[in-house]
Symmetry: C2
Subunit: 213 residues, 2 copies
């Protein structure tokens, strides 16, 4: 079983994808699924599915497959998403405003509970998502009051490091960073970056070398 | 030199990050940079920088480092971002609307040139980003007229596969998919997914296992 073994990040990403497909299978009334079928649904191969799950234990029955519901529960435990998470968003621009309304977050147990900005023109504004923009200065107090576990940065690059420092100061240990800045955070804080244009660079690279365009 | 060798995707992602830091270094007036400094700026180690670049050739001078401007140009060639790309967006919801206004795309040579939806209520609408929403039925014609190279999907999961089929039918070979669906596309089409909640699953996993929360 998994203790302190280093698990590849790609495995964690795939576990998340497996979990989504298992939810869809359950919704469609399936009780069992083979590693082949799960693999096909997730566009990987079956050996990969077995290897990824193998890091964490024995979940399937040889020749029968996986229990759709049980495997979901196990993966959610592994990913620590078997409980709800409260998130605070910093940076109320176009992207931030859209993220607050993005239905995928609450659908998956990630709920925005507060929105912050440092711009006096924005602070106090009522957003159509129902949030009132709070002063970034209230971040620490609000984090305690509302039990915020994850900070989401949707500011331009220029403000992102200062916001990171604010989040760390408010004892937030997990940051999802949508700004293009490679923010630096202390070791006791985990960061994931979502940089749209890096994905586009990967895409154009693949176009050139895999497709030959 | 790179021909058909399989390069790790993580390397491509890091090349994109190196390129951004090189731009910032150039902006700050630097002409040369050591692999150690570049690595530090990108939060990786120097051996990784040298290994990643080593896949593609010899770019540095031992004991001197890399030419900030030349290395940028070389990486942009590798990533095939040394020219502009026209993009079409499908799905004019909150996220799609925000993406059309997102400054990072044009800043990096990726320019939206058209926006599509299938909703009769949205088709023909003037967006504040300056776009008029086109009927998805015009996708193929518009793609030719405007030389669209990349399709961006910002629909809910339910519509994403049909949109993918439309994009493929319009001879678009590169898709950036913001929907949570694992879309399937033919082999001559490259796809990158940006699923915000998968990143959050990775984040909560790291919180649990790396930070112990």
């Amino acid at each position: 079983m998994h203790k302190k073994q280093k698990i590849p990040k790609a495995t964690i990403t795939r576990l998340s994808i497996y979990c989504r497909q298992l939810e869809l299978l359950e919704f469609d009334g399936y009780r069992m699924v083979s590693s082949e079928k799960l693999a096909w649904l997730c566009q990987v191969n079956a050996a990969q599915v077995r290897k990824d799950l193998g890091y964490f234990g024995e979940f399937g029955v040889r020749g029968v497959g996986y229990d759709v519901r049980d495997l979901q529960i196990e993966i959610k435990k592994i990913l620590a998403v078997n409980r709800g998470w409260n998130m605070g968003l910093v940076g109320i621009g176009n992207l931030g405003t859209a993220l607050l309304k993005h239905q995928n977050f609450p659908d998956r147990g990630f709920r925005f509970v507060a929105a912050f900005d440092s711009d006096p023109e924005k602070i106090g504004k009522n957003l159509s998502s129902g949030f009132i923009v709070r002063d970034i200065k209230e971040l620490k107090k609000t984090t305690q009051e509302l039990n915020i576990g994850i900070g989401v940065i949707a500011t331009p690059a220029s403000g992102a490091q200062e916001v990171t420092n604010n989040l760390v100061d408010a004892n937030i240990c997990a940051i999802l960073n949508f700004s293009p800045l490679q923010i630096s955070a202390p070791d006791n804080c985990v960061v994931e970056h979502i940089d749209f244009t890096i994905k586009l660079d990967v895409l154009t690279y693949k176009l050139k070398y895999e497709i030959g365009l």
